[in-house]
């Protein structure tokens, strides 16, 4: 049996990252992977890098990281709503300005996807989807036959992604498994302050997907966000668990479950 921990978007939430690394080690994770979007949303983006490096967390590039590393104008989330764009821009400009050149260079060095062979299974780690770094794979808009197509094209048995901010898992025929690992950066629009990561246990016989809820010092994060004058709307999300911005990307089912 091999146990690995999978982290989704960190969004500069160093409090949650520290808590998750400790939690994952305690649960016996042999390796930790992060599927990208290290910066965004939260304060002091450079604080995310030391724990990643010192604990040997293996990272791939998210769309945010790709933008920061390449000096692009925006985060490539593709918002069209002016309010969403306003907040996305504010967050991106803040993160860009406060990420050191050294860390941007490190982001540039990250691979866009990663393949692992484990217990006879082929894993593909990606940020959005195997074919596109910023494609959203939501539970309610990703039908089975489309997942099958992604598995066929990527020659994988297990695909892990993040990007949407909400975890989900589906097992298909032929022992294929799709996992959206969730995110550590902010709560998942469920009215609680919990964030989530995934523990994946693999053996020749079985694939065990466990979503791990994590409580961390969200008040301390909120205080740091206030000091950095990040928008009240972002702080509200951290403290209430409801998304207040960038809502347009949510499909109907996921949107209807939230408050806004």
């Amino acid at each position: 049996m091999t146990r690995i921990a999978l982290f989704g978007g960190l969004y500069s939430n160093y409090f949650a990252l520290d808590a998750a690394i400790e939690d994952a080690r305690r649960r016996g994770a042999e390796a930790i992977y992060c599927l990208g979007d290290l910066g965004a949303f939260g304060p002091y983006p450079d604080r995310i890098y030391p724990p990643l490096l010192s604990h040997g967390v293996r990272c791939i590039q998210g769309n945010y990281d790709n933008s920061l590393a390449g000096g692009l104008d925006d985060c490539q989330c593709g918002y069209t709503d002016p309010r969403d764009n306003y907040f996305a821009r504010l967050s991106y400009n803040y993160t860009f300005k406060n990420t050191s050149d050294e860390n941007k260079a490190w982001l540039q060095s990250l691979p866009p996807t990663m393949r692992l062979n484990c217990e006879g299974r082929r894993l593909l780690l990606c940020h959005g989807s195997p074919r596109k770094i910023n494609e959203f794979l939501w539970e309610s808009t990703t039908p089975d036959q489309f997942l099958e197509y992604l598995f066929d094209e990527s020659e994988a048995d297990i695909i892990c992604a993040t990007h949407t901010g909400i975890k989900w898992y589906r097992k298909l025929g032929n022992d294929r498994h799709f996992i959206n690992v969730g995110v550590l950066g902010r709560p998942e629009n469920d009215g609680t302050t919990r964030v989530w990561y995934t523990m994946l246990s693999l053996s020749l016989r079985e694939v065990l997907v466990e979503f791990v809820p994590l409580l961390y010092n969200c008040e301390a994060l909120a205080r740091d966000m206030q000091v950095e004058q990040l928008p009240e709307e972002f702080i509200e999300t951290i403290l209430t668990g409801w998304w207040t911005t960038c809502l347009e990307i949510l499909p109907h089912k996921e949107r209807a479950r939230g408050r806004f």
């Binding site: 989330c77 593709g78 910023n134 494609e135 959203f136 309610s140 808009t141 489309f146 949510l250």
Partner: protein, 308 residues
């Protein structure tokens, strides 16, 4: 200068022009000239829709879209939406006027039971009756608003699509106006998607200056451009007269690719003005939840609605 060809790289989106070009209203900016008594295209049958949904599922389709004309003019639309939702997330583009209590009940009922999202896109073109009805016709405003409230009362959150008819300076005020209007009408958590104008159909007659911007795509323009953003690389539309390359080109004879999805030719030569619109406004047809597409590069757009 050569005209580019684009192949279907994967069928992400399958469209159905389910009610043909028949519509209960005649918006001034309609891109495919739909309206009362316009029968350029006719109704699809449930059997045609079923056959193509099944073919699309075999091709790994990601999303389905139902448009027209006004889709709710088709007496079996709800049945088709239900069928579609069994296979994939489904979007219907409507003016909302025909969504009565009974229809809203049925939509809400099967949406709740479905695994995938149902998106109901309702078109609106102004946040006052005068603004909206000047473009969409008398009485349309009130009926569209009533539909948003009716759906929202049943837990459905329609996506209100608005064609941009204002300047950048007026943007926030305009969108706040829409939010106010929708909330006041009983739609407490309005979802809004802003669409750009397309220099096509009736919009071209209304705003002939748009024609001056129209040109043809060239291979040079596509150098370094992500072709996956073009509808012809990821979508097809089924009509009662066969399968066409995309919803924007259903009036162009060369855009008909075959009788059915399975025998439609996979490659298309992008020889129309509309292809330039798609190049500029790749976001217009997809839902915001689909992927992070780059917003249209062209600026100062006016107006055209995709349906309803």
């Amino acid at each position: 200068m050569t005209i580019p060809r684009v192949r279907l790289s994967h069928l992400d989106n399958l469209w159905f022009q389910v009610s043909g070009t028949l519509c209960n209203i005649a918006c001034k900016h309609c891109f495919n000239n739909s309206g009362p008594n316009v029968r350029t295209f006719g109704f699809l049958t449930v059997e045609q829709v079923r056959r193509e949904i099944e073919a699309a599922a075999r091709m790994g389709v990601k999303e389905m879209f139902f448009t027209g004309g006004e889709p709710f003019l088709h007496p079996q639309l709800v049945e088709m939406l239900k069928l579609s939702l069994e296979h994939a997330p489904t979007t219907v583009l409507t003016n909302g006027m025909l969504i009565n209590d009974r229809t809203a009940d049925r939509l809400a009922e099967f949406e709740r039971a479905a695994r995938y999202s149902l998106e109901i896109r309702i078109s609106l073109d102004g946040y006052t009756e005068a603004m909206n009805d000047a473009i969409r016709g008398m009485g349309v405003f009130r009926q569209a608003l009533a539909a948003t409230a009716r759906l929202s009362q049943r837990g459905l959150l329609p996506l209100v699509t608005i064609v941009r008819t204002w300047s950048e300076a007026e943007e926030l005020e305009t969108l706040a106006g829409f939010t106010r209007t929708l909330t006041a009408a009983g739609y407490a958590r309005p979802r809004i998607k802003v669409l750009p104008a397309l220099p096509l159909g009736r919009e071209l007659e209304r705003s002939p200056e748009l024609a001056e911007d129209a040109a043809f795509l060239t291979d040079e323009m596509l150098n370094g451009f992500d072709r996956d953003l073009l509808m012809c690389s990821n979508s097809r539309i089924v009509t009662d007269r066969g399968v066409w390359v995309c919803p924007l080109l259903v009036e162009k004879p060369d855009a008909r690719l075959g009788d059915s999805l399975e025998n439609a030719v996979p490659e298309y030569m992008l020889s129309h003005h509309a292809c330039v619109s798609c190049y500029h406004y790749g976001t217009i047809c997809s839902n915001p939840s689909a992927d992070g597409r780059i917003e249209g590069k062209a600026e100062n757009a006016t107006a055209t609605a995709l349906s309803g």
